[in-house]
């Protein structure tokens, strides 16, 4: 690998004999574009996979607005906001890691990828150890220990419906985060071995697309779950 970088294959994009070129592709550009399009098509399926949840959430929110507003007010906005910021930072470090690969800085790739993984783990840490633990202690987990509160009155089943969707959406999102972190650890190992060069960084670009998509899902989850709760005049948090 080192010699390839040394004699500066540089940006011969139509390289038809690079070792990374798979046998059934004609040139590197075709291979990169195919991988890129493949990931985007996969992200379209993910949009519709989460879409089913967003559609159901929208329907029940339209039908049971008071219950959903009570539920949303029970969530802690501070955790939601910090998590959003954490994910946005991880998107930045991911993009910079790809840029480091494009410019051939191997050490920067490894540092930035590690940073992305740490930020992802931080997101999950905040989500599991703070938010979900509090919700569990306050008996807000449907199907596990959900207890209706008298002040909800007849809206109790609708508050439970809110929390059903809260837990399903955030757990599927967290699952995608875990898969993302797994992917990143493989990439970090490959980057450490200098696998990515300005001509061949497809796995990085493709995993970056996946990571940014998971960030976009959270960008929509955050307002839908935390913010549209009619918390006018109420201080942050509960």
């Amino acid at each position: 690998m080192a010699d390839l970088v040394a004699h500066g294959a540089g940006h011969d994009l139509a390289a038809t004999h690079s070792p990374d070129l798979k046998h059934h592709f004609d040139n590197m550009t075709q291979q990169f574009d195919a991988a890129n399009l493949g990931m985007w098509v996969f992200l379209a399926t993910e949009v519709l996979f989460f879409g089913g949840l967003f559609a159901s959430y929208t329907v029940y929110r339209a039908l049971y607005l008071p219950g959903f507003e009570i539920g949303s007010r029970l969530l802690d906005v501070r955790f939601g906001a910090t998590n959003t910021a954490v994910l946005i930072c991880s998107s930045l470090t991911m993009v910079l890691a790809i840029r480091a690969a494009q410019t051939g800085q191997r050490k920067a790739q490894v540092v930035l990828l590690l940073l992305t993984m740490i930020l992802g783990a931080a997101f999950l840490g905040i989500k599991f150890t703070f938010e979900w633990r509090n919700d569990y202690l306050e008996h807000l987990v449907p199907g596990v220990n959900f207890i209706d509160r008298p002040e909800w009155g007849a809206n109790a089943p609708h508050v439970q419906m809110f929390f059903i969707f809260y837990f399903i959406m955030t757990s599927i999102h967290a699952l995608h985060m875990i898969i993302g972190i797994g992917l990143l650890s493989v990439l970090t190992w490959m980057a450490a071995r200098g696998r990515f060069t300005p001509d061949y960084f497809t796995p990085l670009e493709v995993s970056g697309l996946y990571w940014h998509f998971v960030d976009i899902v959270w960008i929509f989850l955050f307002p839908l779950l935390y913010l549209i709760g009619g918390r006018y005049g109420v201080g942050g948090g509960h």
Binding site: H11, L13, M28, T29, F32, D33, N36, L37, W40, V41, L43, A44, T45, V47, L48, G51, G52, F54, A55, T58, V59, A62, L63, V77, G80, A81, T84, A85, I88, C89, S91, L92, M94, V95, L96, R99, Q102, T103, D199, E205, G208, L209, H212, F213, D215, I216, I219, F220, F222, P223, L224, Y226, L227, I228, G229, G230, R231, Y232, G233, V234
Partner: protein, 110 residues
Amino acid sequence: MSSHVVPLKVYIGTFLGLLFFTALTTWVAFIDLGPFNTVVALAIATVKMLLVILFFMHVRSSSGLTRVVVAAGFFWLALLIAFTLSDELTRQWSPIPSSWGPGISQSEPQ
């Protein structure tokens, strides 16, 4: 290959923009805008999404085909939501009287 390397300041700019909009949407949530709260929150989320898609995911510089795939995904989601709501929200409307006459009301007393 998106051969050209995006300048650093574009990424930093996008990053700051995203943080700004996160702060904005959190702040706006505490102001009572009546029904517009939902609209504003979703609008800001859409802007943040576009920032991430165009700059972080390099769609600004990629082929039209990628843009079509992105648009198709969200358009189909909109189809699902729109048609499902078209049923859920109009289920209580009773059918209009047989003579298609006036007095088509929310629920026509028998």
